[in-house]
């Protein structure tokens, strides 16, 4: 019974961590994309002839900004599906 409580504690903390990873990652990525998108629109409104040049770079930067967030999501998903932090606990319970 004690083991179940320990597992529940680890899983609870992991769930909170997942929320933090995805939430703060999304926050940062959205602010970044928002700033970049607004600057792109401003620049496009001022100099429409530069749009084809800027568009490619905007997508490149959008990918770069998104990347750290998506790495965080991948990590969070991995922890949600197979929690490696439980490994020590189950190993200790085996003895």
């Amino acid at each position: 019974m004690e083991l179940v409580a320990h597992i529940a504690q680890v899983q609870g903390f992991t769930a909170i961590a997942l929320g933090l990873i995805i939430g703060f990652g999304a926050l940062g990525a959205c602010i970044g994309i928002g700033i970049m998108g607004s600057k792109f629109l401003e620049a496009a409104a001022r100099q429409p002839e530069l749009v084809p040049l800027l568009q490619g770079r905007m997508f490149l930067l959008a990918g770069l900004i998104d990347a750290a967030f998506l790495i965080g999501v991948a990590l969070a998903m991995y922890f949600a599906v197979a929690n490696p932090l439980l490994g020590n606990l189950t190993a200790a319970a085996g003895h």
Binding site: G56, F59, L60, A62, G63, L64, D66, A67, L70, I71, G72, V73, A74, L75, M77, Y78, V81, A82
Partner: protein, 267 residues
């Protein structure tokens, strides 16, 4: 669904994250090669080279066929990107950029196949684990980015000579009296390139695959409402993913070109 998951969604996803490895090797040992990643990536590489070669052989200066026009669009797009960044002899960098772009794009595009399609087919031949997306395998992305690192080091030596490159490594930011700091800083800069390149591609593809798997879990949830939500979600994420796979292939190509052209610059 491939091989009837018993333990619900978690078991289903865990089953799909298992790589196909050769039998009778120790887990995590040197020879536990991920056969699925290697097979799929080699097959896609052969497909890319063969189709481009066949099209290039039949290319005419007259009215181009539809396939040749497509080929020219891809070629000119990549060549234009390389030309923007690198001012020099493009005979090596151009083909390298084209290979990186098309190959990574094709490997990413395996994500657009339904997640259960290839495992279902291979299960008919007695192979239970099969992951079709090579770029969602961290070994594959690191193999590519370490190759880029080797090319960067090679071109640094080639452009500046042994003495010139060593001089730059030890004296670059702060001058010769701070050579241990300079060297440590340059080493970190050099080694962070392949890590960020590989982790970016891997993170994007792995997260994409997992979201597909989570949505696919809805299909077997039992109610018609969840099933139709799964269909809609799969379509929406699939369409968004078309954007992600092209952008990631593009970023990998552009950064490869940028790193190699930085190796040509003198400080």
């Amino acid at each position: 669904m491939a091989s009837e998951p018993q333990g619900g969604l978690t078991e289903y996803i865990r089953h799909h994250l298992e790589h196909l490895k050769p039998p009778h090797v120790s887990e995590g040992g040197f020879w536990s090669v991920h056969i699925d990643s290697v097979t799929v990536s080699l097959a896609l590489g052969v497909l890319f080279c063969l189709s481009f070669w066949l099209l290039a052989r039949k290319a005419t200066a007259g009215v181009p066929s539809r396939a040749q026009a497509f080929l020219e669009i891809v070629l000119e797009f990549v060549d234009g990107q390389v030309k923007d960044v690198f001012h020099g002899d493009r005979r090596f960098l151009g083909p390298l950029a084209l290979t990186v772009f098309v190959w990574v794009f094709l490997m990413n595009a395996m994500d657009l196949l339904p997640v259960d399609l290839l495992p279902l087919i291979t299960a008919k031949f007695g192979v239970s684990h099969f992951r079709p997306v090579p770029t969602a395998d961290v070994n594959m992305t690191f193999a590519m980015s370490i190759t880029v690192l080797i090319l960067v080091i090679f071109y640094s030596f080639k452009a500046k000579g042994f003495g010139g490159y060593m001089h730059e490594l030890f004296t670059a930011p702060f001058g010769k009296w701070f050579f241990p700091f300079n060297f440590a800083l340059n080493l970190v800069e050099l080694l962070s390139k392949p890590v960020s390149l590989a982790m970016r591609l891997f993170g994007n593809m792995y997260a994409g695959e997992l979201v597909f798997l989570l949505i696919a879990g809805l299909f077997s949830a039992g109610s018609w409402l969840l099933f139709s939500m799964g269909v809609i979600g799969y379509a929406v994420w699939g369409i968004f993913h078309i954007l992600i796979i092209s952008i990631q292939a593009f970023i990998f190509m552009v950064l490869t070109v940028v790193y190699i052209s930085m190796a040509h610059d003198h400080h």
